[in-house]
């Protein structure tokens, strides 16, 4: 099959309506496919538009894939990447004018609490990093930090929807879906957008599959969630008792019978495409398990990621799978660190020390290993690595036996590495306590605009017509943060 048949073979407007559905939304797809020249009569149309065919970026870029390391639950900026000596000095004092409704628990607001971790400067850039990340701190010169991120909800689920879809409401397409819609897939035999969640029975992020849903985009653009246990994807194994030879013979029969029907029905783009889809499926049966199989990686690489360490083996394995996938052309990989909420994720309401130590230990070496591995393979330039959660945490303590920190929608840190991000820069700043973003504030729309830009997509031109208007990932806002782009 032609890797991008849409560009060579016109198809009918009705085809478009039917195939990608959602009424005039197709027109936007048509726009991406270079518009009207494609809209030729059905009978003259060649092979179908593959909705996942790779499409050229709108903006010149090297980045091809994204790996989003999602620190679920909301890691504390003031305990990770946003160094606040003033917080240490004012430890134990009240934060004047603090609105008790800022966090989730209005009745357990404590005073300012210094970071319980030790801080030091690292790299050429002299980046301050807490001792939560002994391995990652060696890579700070690859990272572009956005210290002034802020969001619109103090509640997990709306904040997760916001950071993933640009809206606090449920039902909008997520970043990965938009990206796959805009760029298609480079992989012929793997899903284009893959999501991995916590494999230690700590649950899915709140809001669950809606965090990787396609919303009103055609459902082919939704994320494929890899089951953490058992077969990661459905229907990859042949029926019991059937060997490869028997299945090959069966598919040959199917092909032959379909071809006879095709000859009678005339040249039908969709029918031809469907015949091809069985061949593709046949190949996926071996290609997909191969991409997920980290066991055959060399030992030194396994050690680099931390696969030999019980405390981080699970995340190491997911990071290594992510590398194998982007290597094979998967467009977008999102890995969630932590499960649902509270102590099952980075949601350190109580015992910020124990909570963050635990999750940092699970992720520090695997992510550092991933960055090193991508770099040595020359893949880092092609791969945008994103680190962050759905919001930050408050500089004041949440009272309890072992104090924690409550949700903070006003400030959190993201970092980007590879994929055209400028290493070692720090964009924006929070106030003296890390409570609110203050300088060069970065909204979630801005963050999304920047991520899309790095991937070669113009957030103002990536649109889909739905229920009466053109929708964008960034709604009606968003500015690309230029300073973090190399």
């Amino acid at each position: 099959m032609n890797p991008n048949p849409a560009l060579n073979h016109p198809l009918s407007r009705r085809d478009l309506f039917r195939r990608a559905g959602h009424g005039a939304g197709l027109l936007a797809l048509a726009g991406l496919l270079d518009d009207q020249r494609l809209l030729l009569p059905r009978a003259l149309a060649g092979p179908t538009t593959d909705p996942l065919a790779a499409r050229p970026p709108q903006i010149r870029t090297r980045a091809k894939s994204v790996i989003w390391l999602f620190m679920n639950g909301g890691p504390s900026q003031v305990d990770t990447w946003d160094y606040k000596p003033e917080l240490t000095r004012r430890h134990g004092q009240e934060l004047p004018g603090f609105d008790k409704k800022t966090g989730f628990f209005t009745d357990s607001v404590g005073p300012l609490m210094k970071s319980p971790f030790a801080w030091a400067q690292h790299g050429q850039s002299g980046t301050w990093v807490s001792d939560l990340f002994p391995n990652l701190s060696r890579h700070v010169d690859k990272m572009a930090f956005l210290h002034s991120c802020h969001t619109e909800s103090n509640n997990h689920s709306p904040a997760l929807f916001m950071i993933n879809t640009g809206s606090t409401r449920m039902g909008f397409p997520c970043v990965g879906s938009w990206m796959t819609y805009g760029l298609g897939s480079e992989s012929r035999d793997l899903p284009s957008f893959v999501v991995m969640s916590d494999p230690l029975d700590r649950g899915l992020p709140k809001g669950q599959a809606s965090n990787w849903g396609a919303g009103f985009l055609p459902s082919v653009y939704q994320g494929t969630w890899l089951r953490p246990k058992g077969d990661p994807i459905d229907n990859l194994h042949r029926p019991a008792g059937m060997n490869a030879e028997a299945q090959r013979a069966q598919l040959d029969l199917l092909r032959s019978l379909n071809q006879q029907h095709l000859a009678q029905a005339g040249s039908e783009g969709e029918l031809g495409a469907r015949i091809e889809s069985f061949e593709l499926a046949y190949r996926m049966q071996s290609a997909a398990p191969d991409a997920f199989d980290v066991e055959h990686e060399p030992d030194h690489l396994k050690r680099l990621y931390g696969l030999d360490q019980p405390h981080c083996k699970h995340f190491a394995s997911q990071c290594l799978m992510a590398r194998r996938m982007v290597e094979r052309g998967v467009r977008f990989v999102q890995i969630y660190s932590g499960g649902m909420d509270n102590q099952r994720s980075w949601d350190g309401h109580e015992d910020i020390v124990g909570n963050h130590r635990g999750f940092a230990r699970e992720t520090d070496q695997p992510i550092a290993g991933l960055l090193a591995d991508l770099e040595q393979r020359g893949l880092l330039e092609d791969t945008l690595v994103i680190w962050g959660g759905e919001f930050g945490r408050l500089p004041v303590s949440q009272k309890g036996g072992n104090p924690g920190r409550d949700h903070n929608p006003h400030a959190f840190t993201y970092w980007l590495a590879g994929g055209g991000a400028r290493g070692g820069v720090h964009h924006g700043a929070t106030d003296a306590f890390g409570h609110k973003a203050e300088v060069d504030k970065v909204s979630v729309n801005d963050l999304h605009a920047t991520i899309l830009h790095l991937m070669g997509l113009d957030h103002e031109r990536l649109t889909f017509f739905n229920n009466g208007r053109n929708f964008r990932l960034t709604d009606v806002a968003g500015d690309v943060v230029r300073s973090v782009i190399a």
Partner: protein, 1049 residues
């Protein structure tokens, strides 16, 4: 790459779609129509930013002084946007959305004369570019350049948002009065007459009629979502008499599978699901009844106007009809957060109402009213004011879970029969009480032996019950008190009463069941539970003296929900979240005993006050409490208490100088009725009546999720209320910027005259739990004379057309607005809408009307001429084969393989091994069924009118490897291959008949038989257990995977 552009559409006055951004400014006079860019919203936002940052200072510095400030030279001012757009003596100053083409830009760049500013240099290049970009973005102002310059602009607020001109644009027009064209032949089918008139203009004609197999398959898949049975096909192919096709259609329309097929189309539009979404995606038990309502309504051919009315206000139209209540599930099917923080409560509620409104208007009127939430609709004549007035319809509308008797008539019949029979038993007991009992009671009284009876438990005298939250109490004969009325989230009961006993050691609190309570109690919570967070007892001598708290120890109960936070011990601590609860012991008597730390000494009487606090959970109050005290050390939970009155009478009998003579007649009667329970004869007749009472028919109650008013809302983890008392106009959709209270009205553009909403206002009967607002909305919506009924009819006939012909006459069935597609055959659409209304809104006749046309019956043959002159088939010059939807694909596979279970209705399942039709899968938002999703079933989040039909590898993997698919094929093989004597060619032929409703061609037969033989050999060599069965299964699995199965011609 260019932004997608619609064919340019024009919209007269509405071209100035500034709405809130620039105040209530309107163009006056005859302005040239301006094409509207699709990305208007973004452009305006950008433009507004530019205006604030650069353009305003630029215009003030360089232009304003002479043009609108001190002077207005050339009759040109740019003080307001209105002035700017009006232009000057020399004509227009700008062309909206066209910076470089605007005269103003050319003048300030000194590219044209007169050069501006009139003295000095041209503006810097950057400024010219900024000005040009700003015009490109629609030249928005946030305020006039001079305060007060805008002549008619009032304070900016949705209440003042623009009033539209009525009936602008085709969808708002009343139905045209139309007759079908004369037609190509004299007696043409009316649908064909419309279609052929357009085809003839293009020199085209309909194709020939399809053959009978194709026709019946087409009709069967369209109407049932399943293939025709071989028998039905055979009969139809042989029926040469006139009317065979009409009869075939009628027979299909009469089948119960029709509702199951078409309900699925409507459920997409209704964004139907059975869970909440968001954090926890809680199930909504009873939500499936809405799905069943849709199926039943379609099968019964319920008039469409009624179908709409019930979904919006079934509880207000037919409060006693369970089906009407189920219909309201439409409003409640949207997503709703399960966890809501204090500062999200308002926004969440507005979002929830927006979901109801947006779905209602998209589904029923094909209008995207939701766009007017933040600003006047940019394209359609729907101002923000209309949005909020319409939104207020749902102010008090909430989801409720109700226990309904689904067959109240039957229950009534059974009840009447029972009562007649039961009267016999009661009569017998009455007779005994009147004729026998008095004598026996006298004997007991005279004997005197029983007077010594003493009660373990004593009830307090002169009890007074009070509720802090406002509940009222009714004294019951057994000394208990029934809580009624106000059922607040939390409450505290206080009871005080007197006792003359001394040495009191313990208090017993009983929670009695009662039929008036949910699930018969014993609590007032929705499920019948209670939650006693705190109990305190105070004692005060009647003679005066200090009131002192009595310390309670050794709490124990007949049952505790757990031994932690919901135990009886939790009722003694300070924590309001812990306390006694009794789930699942609903409908039974429960009791708790608390010992007093030290027995209460009593000289001259005590007043005891008992405080019961209920804060463990919402409305978890005891429904029918009874308190009593004892001076015994070991009184049990169950021993009888003696009512205070009886204890008093017995006391009199025993007292010196007492005896039976001291009793008045009424006191004797009272005492007799207390005593009778120990009389054997009375017990016998009583037990007979009681035994019969056990058979009293109880209605079978079914949990139904409805959405209406007046019943407790389905609560989530929320730090606020379930709804807000009023709906406000919101500035830019923000709940922080309220602009007055919105009262209900409808879309002015679809009302005969603006502000005539009173015409549809329906007043509910006094005492009804609902406001009547939803019924008013429904009455307006279905009013074909003055309301929106004409649009309602157009939208539904278009949906019928869409599913029969692959594409609607309006290709965007959820958007009939200016941004949607225009109708390809407007006269036909109006005529069909008229037919629907004239036919009493019944849909089945419209199906029949469409399907009996030659347009429906023609073949899919394509010719060069047709491709050239009707490339998109918008003229309907041929039939277009369509791929079945996810549900129909799976159902068809089940049907072909003989695995289909046709059981209708009831709770669904998430289990993919189910063999019922796919519409009976539970729709849980976080666990959508993979086999449905892979074939493009949409996520149930917003109304969806059109499904895509993608072709991707995971679909093929499902057919090749899915264990269920394989199992169905294996079952089919099992059933059909047991007859070893059957020739393989015969077997293959019958398999083709089943899968494709036709015999194999000679080549297909040969290929298939050859495959069977070789594949059997392969399995034999591989040592597989049953090579023939495996090979046969492989062939059958191949047949159900064929393109021909899921692409219906």
């Amino acid at each position: 790459m260019t932004a997608p552009q619609h064919p340019q559409r024009f919209f007269g006055h509405f071209a100035v779609f500034l709405g809130l951004l620039v105040g209530a400014q309107r163009l006056t006079g005859a302005e040239p129509p301006v094409p509207l860019p699709a990305d208007h919203a973004e452009r305006f936002t950008r433009g507004l930013g530019q205006f604030q940052k650069e353009i305003r200072p630029l215009l003030i510095t360089h232009c304003l002084k002479c043009h609108g400030g001190e002077k207005t030279q050339g009759e040109f001012s740019l003080a307001t946007r209105e002035d700017l757009l009006r232009g000057g003596a020399d004509g227009p100053a700008i062309r909206l959305f066209d910076g470089p083409g605007s005269r103003l830009v050319k003048l300030v760049a000194h590219a044209e004369k007169p050069h501006m500013p009139s003295k000095g240099d041209p503006l810097p290049e950057a400024s010219v570019r900024a000005l040009s970009e700003w015009i490109h973005n629609g030249a928005p102002y946030d305020a006039p350049l001079i305060a007060g310059a805008a002549k008619d602009s009032k304070s900016v607020g949705p209440a003042e948002s623009r009033a539209p001109k009525p009936f602008t644009g085709w969808p708002y027009q009343r139905l045209a009065s139309i007759q079908p064209p004369a037609g190509v032949s004299g007696d043409a089918h009316p649908v064909d007459a419309f279609i052929e008139a357009r085809l003839t203009e293009k020199g085209l004609a309909l194709n020939l009629e399809s053959n009978r197999r194709t026709l019946l398959r087409r009709a069967s898949f369209d109407l049932l979502g399943l293939p025709p049975t071989p028998e039905a096909l055979d009969a139809f192919e042989k029926d040469a008499s006139p009317g065979a096709w009409e009869r075939a259609i009628d027979s299909l329309l009469a089948q119960p599978q029709h509702g199951e097929r078409w309900a699925r189309h409507w459920l997409d539009v209704a964004r139907f699901a059975e869970s909440s979404g968001f954090e926890h995606d809680y199930d909504r038990p009873g939500a499936h009844h809405y799905r069943d309502f849709v199926i039943k309504a379609l099968n019964a051919d319920m008039p469409y106007d009624q179908f709409v009315q019930w979904q919006l206000a079934g509880d207000e139209f037919a409060p006693e009809n369970p089906l009407a209540l189920m219909a309201t599930g439409f409003l409640g099917a949207g997503v709703f957060p399960t966890q809501i923080t204090a500062n999200e409560v308002e926004r969440t509620r507005y979002d929830a109402m927006d979901d109801m409104l947006a779905t209602t208007t998209s589904a029923m009127l094909g209008l995207t009213v939701g766009c007017a939430r933040c600003h006047d609709h940019k394209f359609d004549p729907i101002p923000t004011r209309d949005y909020y007035r319409l939104l207020s319809t749902f102010t008090t509308t909430v989801r409720s879970q109700r226990q309904l008797d689904l067959d109240p008539e039957l229950t009534q019949i059974k009840k009447t029969a029972f009562d007649t029979e039961h009267a016999r038993y009661l009569g017998e007991r009455n007779r005994y009480e009147q004729t026998v009992l008095p004598g026996r009671f006298d004997a007991w009284l005279q004997a005197g032996a029983g007077w010594k009876t003493r009660a373990d438990w004593e009830q307090l005298h002169s009890q007074e019950w009070k509720s802090k939250a406002g509940a009222s109490f009714r004294a019951m004969a057994d000394g208990s008190f029934l809580a009624e009325g106000k059922n607040a989230d939390s409450d505290t009961y206080t009871v005080s009463g007197q006792t003359s006993s001394s040495g009191l050691r313990a208090l017993r609190l009983e929670a009695l069941p009662d039929p008036s309570l949910p699930h018969n109690g014993p609590g007032r919570a929705d499920n019948g539970n209670l939650g006693l967070s705190r109990i305190r007892v105070f004692a005060q001598p009647l003679s005066g003296g200090e009131r002192q708290e009595v310390r309670l120890v050794r709490p124990r109960a007949t049952f505790e929900q757990n031994n932690g936070n919901l135990s009886i011990a939790g009722s003694l601590d300070n924590d309001p979240h812990t306390g006694w609860a009794v789930d699942p012991k609903f409908g039974t008597r429960q009791a708790a005993i608390f010992d007093f730390e030290t027995p209460l000494q009593n000289a001259g009487g005590l007043r005891l006050t008992i405080e019961l606090e209920f804060q463990v959970n919402s409305r978890h109050h005891i429904g029918r409490p009874r308190v009593s005290v004892t001076s015994l050390a070991s009184a049990s939970f169950d021993s009888e208490g003696i009512p205070a009155e009886i204890a008093g009478l017995l006391g009199r009998l025993k007292a010196p100088g007492g005896g039976p003579k001291t009793l008045s007649t009424s006191e004797r009667t009272t005492l007799m009725h207390w005593w009778k329970t120990s009389d054997d004869g009375w017990r016998q007749v009583h037990q007979k009546a009681e035994a019969h009472e056990k058979d009293r028919p109880k209605p079978t109650l079914t949990q139904v999720l409805m959405c209406g008013e007046g019943f407790p809302a389905l609560r989530m983890h929320t730090q606020g209320g379930d709804f807000l008392p009023e709906t406000h106009f919101l500035q830019r959709g923000s709940a922080d910027q309220k602009r007055g209270v919105a009262t209900q009205s409808f879309l002015q553009v679809l009302m005969k005259s603006p502000d005539s909403e009173a015409q549809w206002r329906w007043q509910p009967p006094t005492g009804a739990p609902y406001s009547g607002r939803r019924r008013s909305l429904a009455l307006w919506m279905t009013d074909t004379t003055d309301g929106a009924g004409h649009l309602l009819a157009r939208v539904i006939v278009n949906r019928l057309w869409q599913h029969h012909f692959g594409q609607g006459l309006v290709a965007t069935p959820n958007d009939f607005g200016i941004q949607g597609a225009k109708p390809s055959h407007p006269e036909l659409l109006d005529w069909l809408a008229g037919e629907l209304i004239r036919g009493g809104w019944r849909l089945k006749p419209i199906h029949r009307l469409l399907m009996t046309s030659q347009t429906y019956r023609q073949t899919s043959a394509v010719s060069e001429v047709k491709v050239q002159r009707d490339p998109n088939n918008s003229l309907l010059s041929r039939h277009v084969p369509t791929r079945l939807e996810a549900e129909a694909i799976r159902d068809t596979l089940l049907w072909i393989t003989g695995a289909l279970d046709t059981t209708p209705f009831g709770p669904g399942t998430l289990d993919e091994s189910s063999r019922r039709r796919s519409i009976y899968f539970t729709v849980k938002r976080s666990q959508l069924i993979p086999a449905m999703q892979v074939f493009d079933a949409p996520e149930p989040l917003v109304s969806q009118s059109t499904r895509p039909a993608t072709t991707v590898a995971p679909q093929a993997l499902w057919l090749m490897n899915n264990p269920k698919v394989r199992e169905w094929a294996t079952g089919w093989a099992h059933r059909t291959t047991h007859n070893a004597s059957q020739e393989s060619s015969e077997w293959v032929t019958s398999a083709y008949q089943r899968a494709l409703q036709r015999s194999p061609s000679p080549v297909e037969l040969q290929t298939s038989v050859g495959f069977l033989k070789q594949q059997t050999e392969r399995y034999r060599k591989a040592g597989t257990g049953r090579p023939e069965l495996q090979a046969a299964t492989d062939l059958l699995q191949t047949l159900i995977s064929l393109n021909e199965v899921i692409y219906v011609d």
